[in-house]
Symmetry: C2
Subunit: 214 residues, 2 copies
DNA sequence: TGTACATCAGTGAACGCGCGTTCACTGATGTAC
DNA sequence: TGTACATCAGTGAACGCGCGTTCACTGATGTAC
């Protein structure tokens, strides 16, 4: 009787929505097709009907999220690029690094999502190609373009490696923060973010070693 | 007939040995109890008899490997410590960073093992406590002690964060190297190691910002 | 305007599989009297 | 020195479960003549 006679409730969209929620919360292996279809009020067979199996559905979900994150980061970088003559390298680094922590701790989803991206960066992951093509490469390129404008004396390869160094730090501080609490305990959440972003910014600013801004 | 009448073949040790091999090659979920017991020539029930379940066996395996890696790194750091008056900060960083890449690419196991450690660093992992207590914390402390001796003008908290920055970079460059190949392609393996270690060393040396060695 | 057929979204039930765990058991060895 | 019992390593078979996938199906809608 509930939802009685309502055909065309767009099962496909519902599946996608609930799959996103569940995969983000519990990872690929942590979610069964039955959980997804039950949450969507559909039949177990629906996932196979609409998406040709669990893996394709997962990749579909991932695509969407990766694209939306990439879009967001490119937006930020575009803003910085437009103001690049009035902005210091330090400010660029700070904005970029802060944006990770900000996005990360403002949404309960994104903690889990970072774990997922992390896992998918492994060479044998189920979707490392998607992470590379839709996230890492476009962001890296845009970021590199800005830094090259701001520090024209630096070599492209050097900048590229420095960006990887920054990304590596950001991911590590966020992801391993529970483990790191065993080393530097007793930080409040807000000062943790502020302190860590400042540290990574200053460390990396020196690390880049631009003559313009040293 | 094979292995006929040989009691006391120490099933427990065999299980541990093959579990290590298999878990390292395929991860926790990637290995079934049946695979382990078959490889060990034992009955399916043997894992539960000797180890009280799959998780305990996994943690046991992990403990051993973590301890052996920690021991190895502490050895390296002890050597550096003993020579700390004749060694520059740059040499210390280089040795430490290089040791990760060296260990990593000289053994086929260790690539997979790094993935495992990585995964176990996540807050909700099956053994993040082991990674913290038996690997990250002891190494961090020993490393910090050396740097404090070499750069007495630096604050302990600052050094601690810098070490995390170094670790983050090392892990990222190793783990995400396939993804990063999309950005900086066409490096041979040996020059990749040499170039990357040099980059991380120099980047971090500047990042630490010691007055003594800038 | 009516009929026949094709298409499409979605269902329901079952299939076969591999999993971790359990439990009653065997047979060798150690120990107490 | 012999017997009775306890302990221990290990086995074999089965249990129950949850999984992803399959397949024949329904019933609504669109299309051609």
């Amino acid at each position: 009787m509930r939802d009685c006679n309502r055909q065309n409730k767009d099962t496909r969209a519902l599946l996608l929505k609930h799959a996103e929620e569940l995969f983000l919360a519990h990872g690929f292996e942590g979610v069964s097709i039955r959980q997804i279809t039950e949450a969507s009020g559909a039949n177990v067979a629906a996932v196979n009907y609409h998406f040709n199996g669990k893996i394709s559905l997962y990749r579909e979900v991932l695509k969407q999220r990766l694209d939306s994150i990439t879009l967001e980061k490119l937006e930020l970088l575009k803003n910085l690029d437009e103001r690049h003559s009035e902005v210091t390298l330090e400010q660029i680094l700070y904005s970029y690094i802060y944006s990770f922590f900000d996005a990360h701790f403002s949404s309960p989803d994104s903690d889990r999502f970072l774990q997922i991206i992390y896992r998918e960066m492994a060479p044998d992951a189920i979707a490392s190609d998607l992470v590379a093509e839709r996230l890492v490469i476009p962001i890296q390129q845009a970021f590199q373009k800005i830094i090259m404008k701001t520090c024209p004396e630096l070599h492209g390869d050097h900048i590229s490696r420095c960006i990887s160094s920054i990304t590596g730090q950001v991911l590590h501080f966020i992801r391993a923060r529970e483990v790191l609490k065993g080393i530097r305990p007793a930080e409040q959440n807000q000062t943790f973010i502020e302190d860590t972003v400042q540290h990574i910014t200053q460390f990396s600013l020196r690390g880049i070693g631009s003559q313009n801004h040293a």
